[in-house]
C-alpha cells in the first residue's frame, strides 16, 4: 500500500512539472539571462553603450545613504501601496457581494461594473485627468452639488496620490470578477444552515462568505501588492510633464528608475534600484505567505 502511494505521488509530481514546464522554459530562455545580467550590472557603472566598470556596492551605497529622490520615490510608492491595496480589496469584495444578489437585471450591473477593467491604459488616464480637472471636471462638479468644494486633485501634492487611488477604485472590476466567481462557489448549504440557526445576513457574510473566499483574497492581496509597487504608467502620464510632479508627489519608484535608466543613462544605478525593489517585494511576499495559514482557509485542506 505504502509503495503504491509513493508512485502516485511521483506521478503527480511529474504532472506538476509538466504543467509548469511552459513557465520554466520561458523563464530560462527569456527572463533568467537578463535577470542575472541586471544583477551583475547593478555592481557596475553600466551606461548601455560605452562603459561597464565594476564599482562594487557604490550604487547601493549612494542609493541608500545619499539619494534624496530615491527616498522620496520609495516613500511615494509605499504610501500608494499601503492605501490602494486594502482599499481596492475591500472595494472589490463589497461590489462583488452586491453583485452576488439575486435582483432583476443583475447581469447588466455586472457588465457595467466590469467594464472599467476592460478599458485600460493611457486612454483611461487621460479621461480621468479630465474628470479630475479642478475647475471644469465632473468629479468636482458632482461634489459641488452636495456642497463640497472639491480639492485640486492632480495639482495639489497632498491629493495626487489619493487621486490615483480613487482611479484604481473605479477599475476594481478585474478582481471583482474573481471574488464574484469564488462567492458563487460557496455552498448554499452553509447559508441555509446559518439561516436556520438564525444568523443575520451580516453575520453570514462575515462568518461564511469571507472565510470561504480567503484564498482569493490572499491571491488578490499578494498580486496587487506586487502590482502596486510596479506603478509607473499612471504617474508617467498623469503627472503632466512625466517627471512625477507636482512637488515630486507622483515620483514613484519605477518612474525614478526609468528616468535614471533612459533619461540619465545610469543603467547600472537603475539596475541596483530594481534589485532593491525586488528584495522589498520578495520580503513582503514571504511575510504574506508566512501569515497566510493564520487566516486563509482552504476547503479540503490536509491538516
Amino acid at each position: 500500500m505504502g509503495k503504491r502511494k509513493l508512485t502516485m505521488r511521483r506521478k503527480e509530481s511529474i504532472y506538476g512539472y509538466i504543467f509548469i514546464l511552459p513557465f520554466i522554459v520561458g523563464f530560462f530562455a527569456f527572463t533568467a539571462g537578463p535577470l542575472l545580467f541586471s544583477l551583475a550590472g547593478s555592481f557596475t557603472d553600466y551606461n548601455i553603450t560605452s562603459q561597464m566598470n565594476f564599482t562594487g556596492v557604490e550604487n547601493y551605497q549612494s542609493l541608500i545613504t545619499e539619494d534624496g529622490l530615491f527616498r522620496t520615490s520609495l516613500w511615494n510608492t509605499i504610501y500608494y501601496v499601503a492605501f490602494s491595496v486594502p482599499l481596492t480589496t475591500i472595494g472589490a469584495i463589497f461590489i462583488s457581494s452586491l453583485l452576488n444578489q439575486q435582483v432583476p437585471g443583475i447581469r447588466y450591473f455586472r457588465t457595467l461594473y466590469y467594464l472599467p477593467a476592460v478599458l485600460s491604459g493611457v486612454g483611461v488616464y487621460l479621461l480621468w485627468m479630465q474628470l479630475l480637472e479642478p475647475g471644469t471636471g465632473m468629479v468636482n462638479l458632482v461634489l459641488g452639488w452636495v456642497g463640497i468644494d472639491g480639492p485640486n486633485w492632480l495639482y495639489d501634492p497632498d491629493w495626487t496620490k489619493p487621486s490615483l487611488i480613487l482611479m484604481k477604485l473605479w477599475s476594481v472590476g478585474g478582481s471583482m470578477l474573481l471574488y464574484l466567481a469564488s462567492m458563487q462557489g460557496v455552498s448554499k448549504n452553509l447559508y441555509e444552515a446559518a439561516e436556520i440557526d438564525g444568523a443575520s445576513r451580516l453575520r453570514q457574510f462575515f462568518h461564511i462568505t469571507i472565510p470561504m473566499i480567503t484564498p482569493v483574497i490572499f491571491f488578490d492581496v499578494v498580486t496587487s501588492t506586487i502590482g502596486g509597487f510596479q506603478i509607473f504608467q499612471e504617474a508617467y502620464i498623469m503627472s503632466g510633464n512625466g517627471e512625477g510632479g507636482p512637488a515630486n508627489s507622483l515620483l514613484f519608484y519605477n518612474l525614478y528608475m526609468w528616468n535614471q535608466a533612459f533619461e540619465n543613462f545610469n543603467m547600472g544605478y537603475a539596475m541596483a534600484m530594481s534589485w532593491i525593489l525586488f528584495v522589498i517585494v520578495f520580503v513582503l511576499t514571504i511575510i504574506n505567505l508566512k501569515l497566510a495559514p493564520r487566516w486563509v482557509h482552504y476547503e479540503g485542506e490536509e491538516k
Binding site: F28, A29, F265
Partner: protein, 440 residues
C-alpha cells in the same frame, strides 16, 4: 524522483546555455547594407508620423534619393515614446539605424556615452556657421559635434490687437518690459461682478517659471559653456522673479488660473482665440492653431518682453538634431543625407510646409519671405526668426543630468505656499550641487 531531478537539472543547464548564447551574441555589422540596385541603404528613423509631418519628411527623403544615384534612404517612423529607447537598444545590440532624429538637449551626453558618433571628421571649418550658434553649441561635447541641428523652437508673445485698441493701448506698440507687461495686463483685464470677462495676461500659461528666470538672467543656471563650477540657482534675482510670478497668481486668483488653464489645455477652447485672454506666450507654431480655430482674430506677435530695459529679450527653445548612432554601417552615406537634411533646400521646404522653426539660418530667412506663407504667417515667422537670435537652450550639463528634477519640485512647493522662494531655491541649489558632486 532522482531521475526527475537530473532531467530538470539538464534542462536548466541547456536553457541557460541557450539563453546565454542569445544574450551575448553580437551582430557583425562591418559590411554596409546594399539594395538590389547596388545603392547603399541608409536607414533613417524619425518620430514624424503625423498626417501633417509624414508627407513632408517623406518628400525630403524622396528628393534626396532622386538627387543622386549612390544612396537610398529608407525612412522608418517610430512613435515619440519609443524611438530613443529603441535606438539605444539597437546601438547596444550593434545594429543601429544610420540616421536618427534626436533631442538636441541631450546631444552632449549621448556623445559622452558613445551613443552618437563624433561628426568632426565630416565637418569642415565653416560648416557650423550655417546654424544658429546657440543650437550648434548644444551639440558639442569637448569641442566636437555629435549631431547636426535640424529644427528648433522659441517662445514669443501673442497679443490681441482689438483688445489693445479697446482699452486705448496702441496695437502697434506691444509691451517691451516686464513692467509694461504688467501695466498693460491690468488695463486689459475686464471684470464684471467679480468675474473675469477678459484676462490681460498670466505668465505661466504656455511656458514654465524657468523661461522667466532665463529671460531675467540672460543665462541658464550654470557658468560659461555650461560648466558646473558655478551654479546660479539661489540668487536674489531668481527669488525676486519667483515672487513676481506668484504675485500674478495671487492677484488673479487660484480658481481663475485653474479654469483658464483647463481651457488652454483643451486647445480648441483656448481663451486667446475667443478674446477672453488678451496676451499669451507661445511657440510661433501657435499661429497654425490660430489660423485653424480663430481665423478672424486680429493679433500681433512680438518677442518676449525684457526684465528691465536693455536686459535682452531672451527666450527659451529646444529642438532636434540628426545624428549618426555609434555603429552605423555606413557613416559616410549617412553624413551625406544629414548634409542634405540640414541644407538650405530641405530646411526651407520643412519650414514653409510645417510652419516650424529650423536650424539653418539662411533657410529660416528664406522661409520668412516665402510666398507660400500668408501675410500673417510671414509676420509671425519674421518675429520667430528674430527671436531665434535671443533664444537660449538649456541642455543638461554632463555633470548634472536631469538637474531640473531637483529644481522643479522645490519651485512647485514654493507656488503651493509650502516654502518661501529663498527656502525653495536654497534647497534646489544644494540638491543640484550634490548631484554635480556625485557625477564628478
Amino acid at each position: 524522483m532522482k531521475n526527475i531531478r537530473i532531467s530538470m537539472l539538464l534542462l536548466t543547464i541547456l536553457t541557460l546555455t541557450l539563453s546565454g548564447c542569445a544574450g551575448f551574441q553580437t551582430s557583425n555589422n562591418e559590411e554596409a547594407n546594399v539594395n538590389e540596385d547596388g545603392k547603399t541603404v541608409v536607414d533613417f528613423w524619425s518620430f514624424w508620423g503625423s498626417e501633417l509631418r509624414r508627407p513632408i519628411i517623406d518628400k525630403i527623403v524622396a528628393d534626396f534619393n532622386e538627387s543622386q544615384d549612390e544612396i537610398e534612404v529608407r525612412h522608418t517612423y517610430s512613435p515619440w515614446g519609443d524611438i530613443w529607447t529603441k535606438e539605444l537598444a539597437a546601438i547596444a545590440a550593434g545594429n543601429p539605424p544610420d540616421v536618427v532624429i534626436n533631442d538636441i538637449n541631450a546631444t552632449a551626453i549621448r556623445g559622452k556615452e558613445n551613443q552618437a558618433m563624433n561628426l568632426s571628421e565630416f565637418i569642415d571649418e565653416d560648416f557650423s556657421e550655417k546654424f544658429y550658434p546657440e543650437l550648434w553649441e548644444a551639440t558639442l561635447y569637448e569641442g566636437d559635434s555629435y549631431g547636426i541641428p535640424f529644427n528648433t523652437d522659441t517662445r514669443v508673445l501673442f497679443y490681441n490687437k482689438d483688445a489693445f485698441e479697446e482699452v486705448g493701448l496702441d496695437p502697434e506698440d506691444p509691451p517691451e518690459t516686464w513692467a509694461e507687461l504688467e501695466e498693460y495686463a491690468t488695463k486689459l483685464d475686464v471684470k464684471e461682478n467679480g468675474e473675469y470677462d477678459r484676462l490681460g495676461f498670466y505668465p505661466l500659461w504656455g511656458v514654465g517659471y524657468d523661461v522667466w528666470l532665463l529671460n531675467a538672467n540672460g543665462q541658464n543656471y550654470f557658468g560659461e559653456d555650461n560648466n558646473t563650477d558655478t551654479v546660479n540657482i539661489n540668487t536674489e534675482r531668481n527669488v525676486e522673479v519667483l515672487n513676481w510670478l506668484k504675485s500674478w497668481r495671487e492677484r488673479i486668483g487660484e480658481d481663475v488660473v485653474n479654469s483658464y488653464q483647463a481651457q488652454i489645455d483643451s486647445q480648441q477652447g483656448n481663451p486667446f482665440f475667443s478674446g477672453d485672454l488678451a496676451m499669451i506666450v507661445q511657440q510661433p507654431t501657435f499661429y497654425q492653431q490660430i489660423s485653424e480655430y480663430a481665423e478672424d482674430l486680429n493679433f500681433g506677435v512680438v518677442q518676449l518682453p525684457e526684465y528691465e530695459p536693455g536686459s535682452g529679450h531672451t527666450s527659451w527653445g529646444g529642438g532636434f538634431v540628426a545624428e549618426i548612432p555609434e555603429g552605423s554601417s555606413d557613416p559616410e552615406a549617412a553624413w551625406e543625407f544629414i548634409e542634405y537634411l540640414t541644407g538650405k533646400e530641405a530646411q526651407t521646404y520643412w519650414a514653409v510646409e510645417n510652419f516650424d522653426n529650423i536650424a539653418n539660418i539662411e533657410a529660416a530667412e528664406a522661409a520668412s519671405e516665402s510666398d507660400e506663407l500668408t501675410e500673417e504667417g510671414q509676420m509671425v515667422y519674421q518675429i520667430a526668426v528674430e527671436s531665434m537670435e535671443d533664444t537660449l537652450l538649456t541642455p543638461a550639463p554632463v555633470e548634472a543630468p536631469g538637474f531640473y528634477n531637483y529644481i522643479n519640485p522645490q519651485v512647485d512647493e514654493f507656488f503651493l505656499g509650502q516654502k518661501t522662494a529663498e527656502e525653495a531655491l536654497a534647497q534646489a541649489e544644494e540638491d543640484v550641487k550634490n548631484l554635480i558632486e556625485e557625477n564628478q
